[in-house]
Each structure stands twice: as structure tokens, then as C-alpha cells.
């Protein structure tokens, strides 16, 4: 098995091992063992960097369902490698951090098992070449995210957030699956690479655009793009390490990865360019707009994550234009956007991871994340403050941090797209840099809120639950590493650019890896620089005057939010299904019987009529003697009479008439064993009926409405007729020879001259044994029901 296939499976195996390990290791935190997994995987993957940056790709296949074209095939190129390194690298840091963050009272084995499950699934998503395998892993990430959000499941909000994220992402996932199947219908393969190679023949196919939008639906729901972003703020109920890992660094990037992965397939079309770019820009703006009003630091970070994901998404949209031009100077011009997207993808994971960890530290050390209760923490948590500042300033796009570089590239790309000569960008293209700039101003404002409202100003120690002190050193290691990366990438961006981003660019825009620019921090007094300066000035003013213009937020009524829409939709769904269910699940036995018999008549009778199986042939009948006819007549009269009698005794006796007449019929039909058994059983049954009726009330007149009676009669007659028709048809036609003649050798085979006995006692002896078991069970049931004490008293308590 290839090492990379193993890399996907190792986290799953490790997750399965955790419960056993947990019992063995005693006091040592299980997290230390878990940490080995991502660290080892990170090293394995990092060793591939030289090969990949040289332009190689690695592919391996493990057959799963080859007849359906579904194979466990993996493919490692630059794009997958970046994501895989993020998953394992951030995974290591987050696990290290969580060892100190989680309290020993939390259920650690669950936490780490879910986390490893997620890690394996996420690696599966980014390494799979087969669409259906990718889909399976994709849904597994949704499930592990659900489990992790609901980790503190005793909280109502955790359960709500978990359900919301699952419903929205799985809804999108289903759409994506439909898109994948459409792609398969078009191209007859599930392999992403093969589809990308042959898609140019299918751009006119009727399914091309539906498939595109369905795949995008999956990507947008997963990456919390407008208007599906509403699940991400509620997902913040998860423990902070989870938020840092799943809901900012990795899982929410799965949608972005999907867009990047499908750019070679759908990119270069106007629909892809505008959908991805606009959805990204709207998300960018709306996320940053909402982030400013938040008072909970984690909610603020959630909206900022939404906003930054929108930024990356829009960059991938803009970059897809390069595929229209192909390999050339124009292609390189627009391909810059894709490069910026990949760059920002990495940068965002570093600074947002650091910020989440900082917020986690504040929450952990102080007991609150509400900025109205925080302030002045700089003197108590100076190290944490440093990390917060580095992370926020990087996110705001200030110099000396990696965010500055990718932000400037973002502006360059948006300006390039504004003057795009295709896709009718001339009319609306100017909107792109305007939205980008406005959203960046708001980004600057909320970044300042994070730093200044938390760490500067007057300390409000009375409002805090604990006296703030720096956390244990172990909690600071991970944010320290990330902060070093933030600064390090600024000073040596091309190390990252040449070794990881360039090959990844080739993965998104095939054949254009050479278009990767050389990253520089200073490129003269260009428009981008003025845009950054404008952000700092305007953003600064807006931050200072925040309390005057904050009224803007109350302009939107609360009832108009997407959250409200979601809640209403869910409540309506529950109500309607409840109404529908209680409409037919009435709790009234005759109704259920009526459904069953009507269904029987419709299905069995309908099949009989529509398949033309109905045939009636009397020629094979045995002759009827007059006394036999009389006997049957008596039985029919007795049966019908049961319907009309009022007395219990009469109805029991009439049932007895039926039973004993059947015994006589058995005699006539050469079945002495049956006749004997029937006589005995019928006698016992009649006695039993009489015995029980002694305890049961007198039969009342069946007080059911007349139309119900007619309906019941109709069902009964229809049922009887169906049985007659089926029986007649079966009797008239023989499909194959009867197997009964085999049993006529019973003397040779079983040593019995009575064939019926030989069948019961020998040929089907096992059935007879189980039959006596049934009798035994029924006997136990009867005995217990009679002996059991009346449970009236405790039952009443249960009801309440």
C-alpha cells in the first residue's frame, strides 16, 4: 500500500485505538500520544516538498469498487500538498494547545478520537482523486465537525450549533454529490484529473452548468459563504481548539479547495468567474460588516473568518479568468489572483489560528470573552498581547506581517479584474475593487477592536471571574510558532512562494505554474499602496467614531436575518411533518389494519390485474358431492352469522362450528393427521375463549358510524375477492412441478410410512423444533401476563 494512502488511514486507526490507550496510560494526558500522529504525518508530507516543487505529482490507487469506477485513488500535487501540510501542521499545534486548554474533567478520549477522525477525513478530501471517495470524506468531515461542536453537549447552544452546521453542510454536500454524478454522466469517469482532461468537449452539454452550480453549492455551504454563512458563528460553541482548527484553518477551507480543484474543469467560463467572485465579495463585505458589531470575541473571529474566506473565494473567482486567456502575458496577469488566493489561504491559517488561540487563552485565564467586560489586559498578559497584536495587524494587512503581502496582491488582482476585457466586466468590473476596499476598511476596524478593546484601556478586574495571569507555557508554544511564521513569511515570502505556492498554482491553473510572481513587499507608489494607506486612515477614523455610527446596525430588523429564516424554516418543517404524521398515525388499531388491507388489495390485486396473471380454469377440479356442498354452505352461513350476533357465547360457538367443520373437511380431503390435530386444538381454543370471556365484558353493539361501517365492509369484500382471485389463478396455472413427490420416498429416506409425520419429524425436523420453541415462548408470555402484578400505581408516576 502506498505511504500516502496509509497517511489517510493512520488517523482513523489511531482514533480507534484511543479508547484502549486511554485506559492504559493512567494520569498522562492522552493528547501527547495523539500529537505523534499529525507530527509524523507532517514530516512525511514535508519530505515530499522537494519533489512537488520540482513539478512532480504522486498518484496511487487502491481498488475499492472497480466495476463502478470507484477506486480509492489519491493524487498529491502542489494544491493538495499545501492543504495537507496545513491539516497536519495546524493539527499538531492545535493538539499541543488543547492538552493545556481542556480541563481534565472533559471527556478527552472522545475529543481526540473525533479530532483524529476529522484529520483523516480532511486528508482524504484533499488527497482523493476520485469524486465519490472525496464525497465520502467530505461528509465525514461534516460529521466529525458536528461531533466536535456538540462536544459540550449538555449546553443547548452547542446542540443547536451542531445541528445547524450539519444540516447546512450536508444539504450542500448532497447538492455536490448530484453535481458529481452529473459530471460522471457527461464524462463517464469519477477521476478529477480525467474529467479535467476531457471537459473541453462537454462545455455545451446540458448538464455542464447544473453540475457547476451544484458543486459550487457544496463549496459555498462548507466554506460558509453568503447566505450559508449563518452556521459558522453558531459553530463557535465548540471548544476553542476546535474553532481554531476546523472552523478557521482547515474544514472551512475544504469548500475553497473544491473551488480551486474544479477551476481547471469549470474555470474560464463567465458563469464561474462571476458566481465565485461575487459570492466571495459579498461574503467578504457582509462578514466584515457583521464582525464589527460583535461583542463576543469568538463571534467576532467567526465573522472575520467568514469575511476572509470570502476574500480567498473571490480571488479564486478572479483567477479563473486566466484560463480564458491560456498561457500568455494576459493569463499571467489574472493568474496572479489565484496565486494571491493560495498565499492568503496559508496566511489566513497562521494569523487566524494564532488569534483563536489568543482568544482561547483570554477565555481560559479570565473567564470571559465579552469585550464589554475586558480591557487593560496588556499588563497582565503581555505575551498573549504580543501574539494578539501580530495576528490582528497581519489580518488588517499592515506591513511587517504576512497579511500585508497577500492583501496588497488582493488589491492588485481586484484592480486587474476591474479592467478585464471579457465577461462584460467593463460595466460592473469597477465594483470589485470598491467592495474589496470597503470590506478591508471594516476589517481594519474589527482588528483594532480585538487588540485595543481587549488589551488596552482601563482594566475591569471586578467584572472578571478570575485574576488574570499568563497561562502555562505549553499553551503559549503554538501561538508563538504561528506568530513567528506570520513575521517570518513577511521577510522570506519567496521561500513559501517558490516551494509551495508555485506548484499549487500549477494545480489550479494547469500549465501556468511559471506565471507565479516574485513576492515583494515594496513595489513603489502604486495604487495598492494608496489603498492600504487609505484603509489605515479611514479605518482609524471609523474605529475612533465607532459609537456614533454603530446605530447603522439597528437599521436591519431582527426578523429579517437569515438566522430567523433558518429557524422558521426548521420550525415549519417540524410542525408540518408532525401534522402529517399525526394525520395517519392515529393510535387507533382499526385504522392501521385498514391501511394494511387496502394496501394488500391495491398491490396484490393490482399486480394480478395489470400483469394479466388472472386466469380461471375449472377443468382440474375434483367433483363435489352433495353433503360436501352442504357442509361448505353451513360454514359460510356460520361465518356470516358471526358478524351479526350480539351474544359472546353464540359467537364462540359459531367459531367452534367453523373449526369443527374444517376438521370434517380435513377428513374428506384425506388428511387424518390434520383432522385429529384440528379437533384437539379447536376444543382447547373454544374452552380458552370461554374461559377468557368470563373475565371480559359483554359484547357491545359496535358503535361505529355508518360510513365507517360501509368502508370496512368494502375493504373486507375487496380483500376477500382479492384472495379468491389470487387463489383461483394460482390453482389454474402450474408454473413448475410440485416437489411433493420427493417426500413419497419417506420410507427409504426417513424410515416413516406416514409421509406427513416424516416431513415434520425428519425432513423438516428443525422447523418443528423451533415451532415448539414458539409454543414455549407463547406459554411463558401467557404465564407472565397472568401472574404479573397490576402495575397501575407506578405507571401513573411514569406518565408524569
Amino acid at each position: 500500500m502506498h505511504l500516502l494512502i496509509l497517511a489517510i488511514l493512520i488517523p482513523f486507526f489511531a482514533a480507534a485505538l484511543i479508547p484502549f490507550l486511554y485506559r492504559r496510560i493512567g494520569k498522562l494526558n492522552i493528547g501527547w500520544f495523539v500529537l505523534i500522529v499529525p507530527l509524523a504525518l507532517f514530516i512525511i508530507l514535508a519530505m515530499r516538498i522537494p519533489d512537488i516543487s520540482a513539478g512532480d505529482t504522486i498518484a496511487a490507487t487502491l481498488e475499492w469498487i472497480p466495476s463502478l469506477g470507484i477506486n480509492f485513488s489519491i493524487y498529491l500535487d502542489g494544491l493538495s500538498l499545501i492543504l495537507a501540510l496545513l491539516i497536519t501542521g495546524m493539527g499538531s499545534l492545535v493538539i499541543l494547545y488543547s492538552i493545556y486548554y481542556l480541563s481534565p474533567y472533559d471527556s478527552l478520549p472522545h475529543f481526540y478520537a473525533y479530532l483524529l477522525l476529522f484529520m483523516g477525513a480532511m486528508l482524504g478530501v484533499v488527497l482523493s482523486d476520485n469524486l465519490l471517495v472525496l464525497y465520502v470524506f467530505w461528509e465525514l468531515t461534516s460529521i466529525s465537525s458536528f461531533l466536535l461542536i456538540a462536544f459540550w453537549f449538555h449546553r443547548k447552544n452547542s446542540r443547536y450549533g451542531a445541528q445547524k452546521s450539519l444540516l447546512i453542510t450536508v444539504f450542500g454536500g448532497f447538492g455536490m454529490l448530484a453535481g458529481f454524478i452529473m459530471l460522471h454522466t457527461m464524462t463517464d469517469t469519477f477521476s478529477v484529473r480525467e474529467i479535467a482532461a476531457s471537459i473541453s468537449q462537454y462545455t455545451d452539454h446540458a448538464l455542464f452548468y447544473p453540475a457547476m452550480f451544484l458543486v459550487l453549492l457544496g463549496a459555498f455551504t462548507k466554506s460558509a459563504q453568503f447566505p450559508f454563512h449563518i452556521w459558522l458563528p453558531d459553530a463557535m460553541e465548540a471548544p476553542t481548539p476546535v474553532s481554531a482548527y476546523l472552523h478557521s484553518a482547515t474544514m472551512v477551507k475544504a469548500g475553497i479547495y473544491l473551488v480551486a480543484r474544479f477551476t481547471p474543469i469549470f474555470g474560464g467560463t463567465s458563469a464561474w468567474f462571476w458566481t465565485v467572485t461575487l459570492v466571495g465579495l459579498v461574503t467578504l463585505f457582509w462578514g466584515s460588516f457583521c464582525a464589527v458589531r460583535q461583542t463576543d470575541l469568538k463571534a467576532l473571529l467567526a465573522y472575520s473568518t467568514i469575511s476572509q474566506l470570502g476574500l480567498i473565494m473571490s480571488l479564486f473567482g478572479m483567477g479563473s479568468a486566466a484560463l480564458y486567456f491560456g498561457d500568455g502575458s494576459d493569463g499571467a496577469l489574472y493568474g496572479l489572483a489565484t496565486f494571491a488566493a493560495l498565499f492568503h489561504l496559508v496566511n489566513h491559517s497562521t494569523f487566524k489560528g494564532a488569534l483563536f488561540m489568543v482568544v482561547g487563552i483570554v477565555d481560559h485565564q479570565v473567564g470571559t470573552r465579552d469585550i464589554r467586560r475586558l480591557g487593560g489586559l496588556i499588563s497582565f498578559l503581555p505575551i498573549t498581547f504580543t501574539f494578539a497584536m501580530i495576528g490582528s495587524f497581519s489580518m488588517a494587512g499592515l506591513p511587517f506581517f504576512n497579511g500585508f503581502l497577500s492583501k496588497e496582491m488582493f488589491f492588485t488582482a481586484s484592480l486587474n479584474s476591474a479592467s478585464l476585457p471579457i465577461f462584460s466586466a467593463g460595466t460592473w468590473g469597477w465594483l470589485i475593487p470598491v467592495i474589496a476596499w470597503t470590506a478591508s476598511v471594516l476589517t481594519f476596524v474589527y482588528c483594532m477592536i480585538i487588540v485595543f478593546r481587549t488589551f488596552l484601556g482601563q482594566p475591569q478586574l471586578k467584572k472578571l471571574d478570575k485574576k488574570p495571569v499568563e497561562p502555562p507555557i505549553g499553551m503559549l508554544i503554538s501561538p508563538a510558532i504561528l506568530s513567528l511564521l506570520i513575521v517570518g513569511i513577511f521577510f522570506a515570502p519567496n521561500l513559501l512562494g517558490d516551494h509551495l505556492l508555485r506548484p499549487a498554482l500549477g494545480g489550479v491553473l494547469p500549465g501556468m505554474a511559471g506565471a507565479a510572481p516574485h513576492i515583494t513587499a515594496w513595489h513603489g507608489f502604486q495604487p495598492e499602496l494608496w489603498m492600504t494607506l487609505g484603509i489605515i486612515v479611514i479605518g482609524g477614523i471609523l474605529y475612533a467614531t465607532l459609537r456614533y455610527w454603530k446605530k447603522v446596525y439597528s437599521l436591519i430588523p431582527d426578523t429579517w436575518t437569515f438566522n430567523n429564516l433558518y429557524n422558521r424554516f426548521l420550525a415549519g418543517l417540524e410542525n408540518n411533518s408532525n401534522t402529517l404524521t399525526s394525520f395517519y398515525m392515529t393510535g387507533y388499531l382499526p385504522h392501521y389494519f385498514a391501511y394494511i388491507f387496502t394496501f394488500f388489495v391495491l398491490v396484490a390485486g393490482g399486480t394480478l390485474v395489470f400483469t394479466g396473471a388472472l386466469s380461471i380454469d375449472f377443468s382440474n377440479d375434483a367433483p363435489v358431492k352433495p353433503y360436501e356442498f352442504l357442509l361448505v354452505l353451513v360454514m359460510m352461513i356460520a361465518a356470516v352469522a358471526i358478524l351479526f350476533v350480539r351474544s359472546r357465547l353464540t359467537s364462540i360457538l359459531l367459531n367452534g362450528v367453523l373449526g369443527f367443520s374444517i376438521a370434517i373437511l380435513f377428513v374428506l380431503f384425506r388428511a387424518p393427521d390434520l383432522a385429529l390435530t384440528q379437533l384437539v386444538i379447536e376444543t382447547v381454543t373454544t374452552v380458552l375463549f370461554l374461559l377468557c370471556f368470563y373475565f371480559l365484558p359483554e359484547l357491545k353493539k359496535d358503535r361505529i358510524p355508518r360510513n365507517a361501517k360501509i368502508r370496512n365492509a368494502a375493504i373486507a369484500i375487496a380483500g376477500g375477492t382479492t384472495v379468491v382471485l389470487i387463489a383461483l389463478s394460482v390453482h389454474s396455472g402450474k408454473l413448475f412441478e410440485s416437489i411433493s413427490s420427493y417426500f413419497e420416498n419417506s420410507y427409504e429416506l426417513a424410515g416413516g410410512k406416514n409421509i406427513v409425520n416424516a416431513i415434520l419429524g425428519d425432513f423438516r425436523g428443525f422447523d418443528t423444533m423451533l415451532e415448539s420453541l414458539v409454543l414455549f415462548i407463547a406459554g411463558i408470555g401467557v404465564y407472565t401476563l397472568i401472574r404479573i402484578k397490576s402495575g397501575k400505581e407506578p405507571k401513573k408516576n411514569e406518565d408524569k
Binding site: 388491507f597 363435489v624 358471526i642 367453523l658 357491545k700 387463489a727 410440485s738 416437489i739 420410507y747 406416514n754
Partner: protein, 112 residues
Amino acid sequence: METLIILLVGVLTAVAIYLVLSKSLIRVILGTAIFSHAVHLLILSMGGLKKGTVPLLGEEAESYVDALPQALILTAIVISFAVTAFILVLAFRAYQELGTDDLEEMRGVNDE
């Protein structure tokens, strides 16, 4: 003969269905008992009636009637007896506990 028995089966089935659909638990139980009668006759008539002699090899006859349906019915008779006995006792208990044999009144309360 088979057609006659099949018609009888039809009448028995219709009566049984009507009883099972009624409100009174006792009638429902009677209905199930009649159901089993109907099914036994149905199985027997499907094997063909009076096509030979009793399925005892000692008879040394030309042909025997089909023994397989008889074996099946023998099992069915016993099982249906067990089921009838069980439902009867169940009805008895239900009446003791709830004070009614009317299914309308037995309608389950919402358990939430």
C-alpha cells in the same frame, strides 16, 4: 371442489377482515382465529384436493394426496393456537389494566 373451497376461503377472509376492523378487541381476536381457518383451507386447496389416497405408504395406493400442504398446515394450526391464546390473555390483561376492550378508548396517549 377446489373452486368451492376457494369461495369459502374468500367468505371467511372477508368476515375476518371485517371483524379485525371493528372496535371491540374480542371481535378482533375472533377475526384472527377465522383468518387462520381461511389460510389453512387455502393452503390445502392449493395442493389439489382428493387426488389420491391418504398419505400413508402402508396403503399401497396408486397415488397419494399431496402431503406437503398437510405438514405445513399441521404446523400452522399449532402456531395459530399459540398466538390466539397469547392475544386472548393479552386482551384479558388490557381489560384488567384499562377497564375497557374498546380500541377507541385504548388509543395511545402522546408519550412525549
